[in-house]
């Protein structure tokens, strides 16, 4: 009887310890590349593309990444098996402007603005995401602003509007917005 009680107590203790360890595990810090990849993927849920700009049935939803192979790599593992609006997701490594034509989202990391300058996309319905002042100055739509341990968002509404995209109000709520009066 006493051994049983002791055994039960030990099991309970183990359970409590295991349960307590779970949140710690969940709070494992992401690398910036990973965070960037997750955010890029998440945009798919909060942006509406014109019907013509969406991929055909059976075609993948394309997220383009200029240059930065680390982000592309992280993104590939994030989107594996996931879908956006019913479409599978393909990560496109963009080295040339033409390769960006069929993407729905395009990430232009700092230093790679020359590969696809945002304003050169001629108001195509592609959500451009970047990190630099230059990106923003050249008509980029969503900019990541690293802040301590996290990323803030700044959305330039004018280019978004021009491209015919609509950004969900929830996303706008948590982001800093410019223009769009």
């Amino acid at each position: 009887m006493e051994t049983l009680t002791r055994y039960l107590r030990a099991s309970l203790l183990a359970l409590i310890v295991l349960g307590a360890s779970r949140p710690a595990q969940a709070e494992a810090p992401h690398s910036e590349a990973e965070l960037t990849a997750v955010f890029l993927f998440n945009f798919g849920s909060f942006v509406e593309w014109p019907a013509a700009a969406m991929p055909e049935n059976g075609e993948p939803f394309r997220i383009g990444v200029c240059g930065a192979t680390e982000v592309a790599h992280a993104l590939e593992s994030v989107v594996a098996g996931e879908r956006i609006r019913g479409h599978t997701i393909e990560v496109v490594r963009v080295r040339h402007r033409a390769e960006a034509q069929h993407c729905q989202i395009l990430f232009i990391p700092p230093g790679d603005e020359s590969i696809v300058p945002p304003n050169m996309l001629e108001e195509r319905p592609i959500l451009t995401v970047g990190e630099s002042d230059r990106f923003e100055a050249e008509g980029g739509m969503v900019r990541f602003l690293p802040e301590r341990n996290r990323l803030r968002l700044r959305i330039n509404l004018d280019p978004v509007k021009r491209a015919g995209l609509r950004i969900n109000s929830q996303l706008l709520r948590i982001a800093e917005t410019r223009g769009g009066t």
């Binding site: 779970r22 949140p23 595990q25 969940a26 709070e27 965070l35 997750v38 955010f39 998440n42 798919g44 849920s45 909060f46 996931e82 879908r83 956006i84 609006r85 019913g86 996290r150 990323l151 803030r152 968002l153 969900n168 929830q170 996303l171 709520r173 948590i174 982001a175």
Partner: protein
């Protein structure tokens, strides 16, 4: 106690109590059932409403979660928390770690991580709902938990309970009032019936009738009661007539008996007066006969022949016998007139006295007389003495031819009865038991007067005396071997306590 009190209530009150109680119980139970149903429905609605609320908040907070903005998420939660009754809301990320939290007051305990993706938990004071947060593509991004108090539920239940109690009381009161009218309809005929029955049993007035109204069971009962009353009335009248007839008959019989008794008594008195006067009147001619015969003997002693003297002496002896006979008859007839003067008698002493007196006449004979111890008796000493004299002198007389003559006076147990009788025995002539019945009748003699002289009155007189003392006298005998005369005396002793016969017998 309650039950007994209820049973002693009149039917009218019983009906009222039952109707009111049934009404109150039914309404109260209905209210209770509705309350339980209402509680279940309210709980489900609360969960559904909270779910809906959580879905809105979770849609609003999805972006904040997905773009790792706990600050924004908390703001959204706070905005959602202004909703009535919400006291806490928490967002957990897909790993179950707390992402953002809102507590209405610092004292509010935080919400626990989700046990399962979709659940709700009730406590006494609140309910918590966990709802999965999803993207449009059904990708799980976390869990939203919202907790609200059950204040509104309890408020509504309180109102409901109050209304139930109020309605129950009102219905009870209404039932009490209505049952008063109902009671009139149902119990009034019953009460009339009961009163009628009571008046019938009380006054024995079988002509009373119960008014019959309508055709329901109560009316049938009243009708049946009336029929029964009619039957009782008829049979009662019949009984009365029969009783009167019987009474008349009895009276007639009684008067007849009285008449007959009076006649008999008159006849008896006449007879006694006659026999007394006859006996008395017989004495004077006898005295004349005796006197003149003696004168004849004296005067003509020398002139009369020897035969004539002999005849005259016989006349005188016959006159003596006749005198004794008349004395006996007078004694016998006086017995019925005489009053008993009862006292306790030492029967033993009396018996010895009688034996001594009678032995004097038989001094020449060889007689052995024994007197055993005799218990005292209660009676008239003169009469009892006469009984003993009669029996003992009979014993001397009929044992005349024995040598020695044996006479004993004793007390014996009577066979089979446990009672005692006094016995006078002798070893004399005895008699044939066939004639025992005639023994105690006046002038009945079993023996020839020439053999044993006597009047034939002694035993009849003894019988009369013993019977006047409530006793019995009888005899047993064998011809030539002797006789035994038994008698008992049963006069209640008014001077000494009665013998405990039962105790003696048991002993």
């Amino acid at each position: 106690m309650m039950r007994r009190r209820f049973q002693s209530l009149p039917i009218a009150s019983k009906l009222r109590v039952v109707i009111t109680a049934a009404c109150v119980i039914v309404i109260f139970l209905t209210g209770l059932a509705l309350m339980v149903a209402e509680t279940l429905i309210l709980r489900n609605r609360m969960v559904a409403a909270l779910d809906a609320r959580a879905n809105v908040v979770s849609a609003n907070a999805a972006a904040a979660v997905m773009f790792h903005s706990p600050h924004d998420a908390e703001e959204i939660l706070r905005a959602g928390g202004t909703d009535e009754g919400v006291v806490a809301a928490t967002i957990f990320d897909e790993h179950g770690a707390e992402f953002a939290r809102y507590l209405a007051t610092p004292a509010e305990p935080p919400i626990a991580p989700p046990g399962s993706p979709h659940q709700h938990v009730f406590t006494v004071n609140d309910v918590t709902v966990w709802t999965p947060m999803q993207t449009a593509d059904h990708r799980a991004i976390g869990t939203l938990a919202v907790r609200r108090t059950l204040g509104t539920l309890y408020e509504r239940l309180a109102i409901f309970g109050g209304v139930t109690v109020a309605v129950t009381l009102a219905a009870g009161a209404l039932a009490w009032v209505l049952s008063h009218f109902l009671q009139r309809i149902f119990s009034a005929p019953v009460l009339t019936l009961a009163r009628a029955a009571e008046s019938v049993t009380g006054s024995r007035d079988f002509s009373a009738r119960v008014p019959v109204a309508g055709t329901d069971e109560l009316a049938q009962l009243a009708h049946a009661f009336n029929i029964m009353l009619g039957a009782v009335q008829a049979s009662h009248a019949e009984t009365k007539v029969l009783y009167a007839q019987l009474e008349a008959h009895a009276r007639q019989l009684e008067t007849r008996v009285q008449e007959r008794t009076a006649e008999l008594q008159a006849a008896y008195r006449e007879l006694e007066a006659f026999s007394y006067s006859v006996s008395h009147d017989l004495r004077s001619p006898l005295r004349s006969i005796n006197g003149f015969t003696e004168a004849l003997l004296e005067d003509g002693e020398n002139r009369l022949s020897t035969d004539s003297v002999q005849h005259a002496r016989r006349v005188i002896a016959a006159v003596g016998r006749m005198n004794r006979l008349i004395d006996g008859l007078l004694d016998f007839s006086r017995l019925s007139k005489r009053e008993l003067r009862a006292e306790t008698i030492d029967l033993h002493a009396l018996a010895r006295d009688v034996v001594a007196e009678l032995s004097a006449d038989t001094a020449r004979r060889n007689v052995e007389v024994s007197v055993a111890a005799l218990s005292p008796c209660f009676g008239d000493p003169t009469l009892i003495r006469q009984v003993l004299v009669n029996l003992v002198s009979n014993a001397f007389k009929y044992s005349r031819e024995r040598d020695p003559a044996l006479i004993s006076i004793s007390e014996e147990l009577i066979d089979g009865t446990g009672r005692r009788a006094y016995v006078v025995r002798d070893n004399g002539a005895g008699f044939d038991m066939q004639h025992a019945g005639r023994l105690f009748q006046v002038f009945e003699r079993l023996h020839d007067a020439r053999q044993f002289e006597g009047t034939g009155i002694g035993l009849a007189t003894s019988k009369r005396i013993v019977e006047r003392h409530g006793g019995r006298i009888w005899a047993e005998a064998t011809p030539g071997k002797g006789a035994a005369f038994f008698f008992t005396l049963a006069l209640p002793d008014t001077t000494a306590p009665a013998l405990p016969v039962a105790a003696l017998r048991a002993g």
